[in-house]
Amino acid sequence: DVKVTQSSRYLVKRTGEKVFLECVQDMDHENMFWYRQDPGLGLRLIYFSYDVKMKEKGDIPEGYSVSREKKERFSLILESASTNQTSMYLCASSKEWSYEQYFGPGTRLTVT
């Protein structure tokens, strides 16, 4: 079974803090994605990566950056957390030529 894990299920941070959300997949997937889920808005893509050290902006990249130094790990970075970044963050991965994305359990981030 594909396993996508995220470093924390729940996280509380203060405004202005630098926040790291980690995602690890164990199936040698080339593609990795970060989505943000908000009630009434569905899921929106923040960033994605097709390969190590490669990244592309999604629909809402402002206020976020990413890092992919190893194939299995994709990090989402909030450079200076703000209250409007309080949300559920979902990581996903897929094989290069596969349509199916596998999701992690999510990290519920609260910024106070």
Partner: protein, 119 residues
């Protein structure tokens, strides 16, 4: 840009009955996939069913089936014999098909429909 619209924020159904969730989408692409994802309360998102745009036959997975109307850009999900475990958020999603071999692109999601199955 592609958009996906789910017009039913919430729905409920009695156990063992049938329910249909609606989804419409807008795209100028000719090759794409459509998906229904399920997110149970406090659990991971999982793929329920997918449809490839070039296939006319509607996809079916056990109790789950779709009604794909390409010209109308409509993609509804029918759940037959509803079970309590079907209670979840359901997301309709679109993905552009990449190249001849297919492949993964970003997913564009609708806003979701919260389905409650009542005993």
């Amino acid at each position: 840009a592609q958009t996906v619209t789910q017009s039913q924020p919430e729905m409920s159904v009695q156990e063992a009955e049938t329910v249909t969730l609606s989804c419409t989408y807008d795209t100028s692409e000719s090759n794409y996939y459509l998906f229904w994802y399920k997110q149970p309360p406090s659990r991971q998102m999982i793929l329920v069913i997918r449809q490839e745009a070039y296939k006319q036959q509607n996809a079916t997975e056990n109790r789950f089936s779709v009604n794909f109307q390409k010209a109308a850009k409509s993609f509804s999900l029918k759940i037959s014999d509803s079970q309590l475990g079907d209670t979840a958020m359901y997301f309709c999603a679109f993905m552009k098909r990449r190249g001849i071999q297919g492949g993964s692109e970003k997913l564009v999601f609708g806003k979701g429909t919260k389905l409650t199955v009542n005993p």
